[in-house]
């Protein structure tokens, strides 16, 4: 069960390219960064082709938007057809019941075994939280690719009561690989299900010890709240390797969980979708070799990823140069920041030497702690100076005070704020209006779908459903229903407004 230092590419060795959180379409309308995600996805596919892998394993969030733009779908379809179709034979077999493994299309079999498609590199993917299933049909963006035979979408659970994860059982020569997957589920719900023993992983009955057990998951790995993540020890200890998606920091070198005795690799996103320090870690994908029960994971640096350099500066540390009372202190602070940013740009330029595939303008973020009586300077003038050298001139500088450091930017963006707002709203509303009408949970879900997934009908549907359900109840209690409902709905839309406004500040 230990990592194998090196292994031959023989007929018993699975070669698997692992990547996650490609976020196709992220900032696609940005004049500078618009093509970043597409170029990196092409690099990943090219790499899979060059390395002659058996298959590609994606850990979710292939698309940034739940409803990807036409351009995004078009480019993705084109790239998959270009790189994953062709005459190279696929030399592993599938032993499990494919109708169980692939249950989201009318073609419940792996694409490379379809007699009408000539697939050279099968792609296996779970869905992430960005591209998860929605609507009455429970379809996600990946299912469009699945229906066209370009991707094998697996790890989709149809039940909300209990989850049974049936592995795709693969065999190449003498190596047996059980590929488990679980598409993204809201962390708190999944946490609860684990606690209630509603999640089970099915193992092949025979020769259990011969299988290498690989699991792909797309959840919070770091603790965002008491039950708002999935602790590694929730996962079965018969696993050999977990490919953990969703977390954007590249921590691809497998780390051993000493309690469960399995390894975890966190490939990280292939694009920075925020300017937080975790995204500044150099981006990699992995070439995983599995032979028998042994494995080796080779890190492959991505060349097309835009550089991102971030640094913190605490103004109070520069008392030799200035204090809040110094004459023209703001000018001096600005000069310091100018020097720092210039330094970071030059660092990026040096690093980029000899890397023609790397985009020219780096992402730069200087976090300025101005606590202790300093004042923020105008960043719009500052931005102007770097407009030709930096990909994000408008938000290079981020002013903060010490206490602000505790605000987890990512949590805010990932949607917790919506829940907070809904919670606040209900706490305030509870005291004045009849509230059995619209439940907090239902509303939170509807608002989330509305803003995150462009599900225009989500709110209307919820309200209609709840109205019908509770109207009799309310009437029995003598509430002047219509007025209260109007207040309710009106207030709810205000929450949306606040949220949308709020979201603008972050994106």
């Amino acid at each position: 069960k230990n990592a194998l230092e090196s292994t031959l590419d023989d007929e018993d060795t699975f070669k698997i390219l692992i990547a996650t959180d490609v976020h196709l379409g992220y900032l696609e309308k940005n004049a500078i960064r618009g093509n970043d995600t597409y170029q990196t996805f092409e690099e990943i596919l090219q790499c899979a082709k060059d390395k002659k892998v058996d298959f590609i394993l994606l850990g979710g969030d292939l698309f940034h938007d739940n409803k990807p733009s036409r351009r995004s779908l078009h480019i993705c379809t084109t790239l998959l057809r270009k790189y994953c179709m062709g005459d190279s034979p696929v030399t592993f077999n599938i032993l499990s019941d494919q109708t169980t493994n692939f249950n989201t299309t009318q073609f419940p079999w792996v694409n490379y075994q379809d007699e009408n498609l000539n697939i050279s590199i099968p792609v296996f993917s779970i869905h992430g939280n960005h591209d998860d299933p929605t609507g009455a049909e429970g379809l996600c963006a990946l299912d469009l690719l699945s229906a066209a035979g370009l991707v094998n979408h697996f790890g989709h659970s149809n039940s909300v009561e209990r989850i049974e994860i049936s592995p795709i059982l693969m065999q190449k020569g003498n190596t047996k690989l059980a590929l488990f997957g679980l598409g993204s589920i809201p962390d708190e719900r999944l946490y609860r299900m684990f606690v209630n023993k509603q999640v089970s992983m099915l193992r092949p009955k025979e020769d259990q010890d011969d299988w290498f057990n690989l699991f792909t998951i797309h959840q919070n790995r770091s603790k965002h709240g008491p039950t708002n993540y999935i602790p590694e020890q929730f996962l079965d200890d018969f696993l050999d390797l977990v490919v953990w998606g969703h977390e954007h920091e590249c921590l691809i070198t497998p780390t051993r969980n000493e309690q469960q005795l399995f390894y975890v690799t966190q490939p990280g996103s292939s694009v920075a979708t925020s300017l937080s320090p975790g995204e500044a870690t150099k981006k990699h994908i992995g070439l995983l070799r599995v032979k028998g029960r042994k494995m080796n994971l080779q890190k492959i640096p991505l060349k097309t990823v835009r550089q991102f350099i971030t640094q913190d500066v605490v103004l109070a540390d520069y008392e030799d140069l200035f204090t809040p009372d110094t004459h023209q202190v703001t000018k001096k602070v600005e000069d310091l920041c100018y020097a720092k940013v210039t330094e970071m740009i030059e660092e990026a330029e040096r690093e980029r030497l000899g890397c023609p595939l790397t985009p020219e303008k780096p992402l730069i973020r200087l976090r300025v702690d101005y606590s202790g009586g300093f004042e923020a300077f105008s960043t719009s003038r500052f931005s102007q100076k770097f407009v030709d050298r930096v990909a994000n001139p408008k938000d290079i500088i981020h002013f903060m005070r010490r206490r602000e450091q505790k605000v987890d930017f990512k949590v805010a963006v990932e949607g917790l704020r919506v829940e907070d707002l809904v919670k606040q709203y209900f706490e305030a509303a509870e005291q004045k209006v009849q509230l059995s009408l619209l439940t907090e949970q239902g509303m939170g879900k509807a608002i989330q779908e509305f803003v995150d997934k462009d599900e225009k009908d989500a709110i209307e549907e919820l309200i209609r459903y709840q109205l019908e359900k509770t109207q009799r109840h309310l009437q029995a209690r003598g509430v002047t229903t219509e007025q209260d409902i109007d207040m309710e709905v009106g207030g709810f839309y205000q929450v949306i407004q606040i949220y949308l406004h709020d979201k603008k500040l972050f994106s």
Copy 2:
């Protein structure tokens, strides 16, 4: 050049299934009619398979929405993969330059010649006005299917200056077929381009008389305004047959244009998207046979199409029964309508006998001319009586006065009203504000994109573009720019509000 009464299905005969305006996704959220378009598309594909056609030719509007829902794309992809892939060989060749014919993907060749796809029935389609290209990339919904290799999208012109239509030159045995196509273009623009000699059809240089020339177009055929349609005589007289899409009435039997000496077939939509009399004509698709220069078109009735029966009643004609002064006249009118509707439902039931594929509840429309002093009755109560027997209980009755008959319902829905509103707005605004700023034409286009095609950025982009372009100009003239612009933009959004409100009344 005459229609051939019958022809053998020999190795020299092209068999082509022609259909148009399938409008996938139309009313897909309707509990009763939600699957109608999908079922009929499946019937069309099944028919193509049963008849062993060489290819399917679609005349545009395969999708009802410019941005089809995920469900719509998923079902369409699934059906195409299911019916159009397989081992039956395709036995005709393509002689033209395919990079010219198929110019919207990175795979500029016909799908059945792609070595990675096993296509049994190639589909050739132009785009319609509902599913036309939008956005900076000029992509349409069909292009997603093209990229996946499921459809051959042709007839896409990249130039707005001039259109050159290069045919797909096909040969089967001794028969040579030149397939011309032109995707939908706003009628008035195309009309102007024809008048200005900016449209040309390219013919093969050699053996011109050996080719059967087939043209597919998706435009207004009936005159909606002086230049708001395409007169048949605009089309080249070397054509043999024109397949005319967009018009929903099934007039599939080829009619001869005596001036141009070609035939025109208008297959009509395979679903009724309005309750106008034209949609009540029995729906058909066509099996076109072409051998040498001879052709034969066989009408094939569609079995899955929901029945639609419409009738007019003029209350003033019933003076034996009642006049506006009769006691309880409204009740009597309602009774008359009830009898008429019951009669129509029974007619539908008789017709449906022995047609298990036809949906059970028919569409019923009774147009009631109540001019001459009658009053309309409440249709909500009336609807209730038919809720179990009719697919459209809420709009069975349509009250009108004689003058109303002139209002072309279809024109209103198809978008002319937007233009009218924009025009009105500008006429009013012209007198008070500086108006070189935002041109009527540009705005009309932007608003149309916004409301019809869900192009959320269209208006913002236009305004930004126009602002930049004219700001200097206005400043030079001493206009207090910002305020005027605000008025402009504010007023414009009001127009949208009016339009959206207005649209609700129709849909």
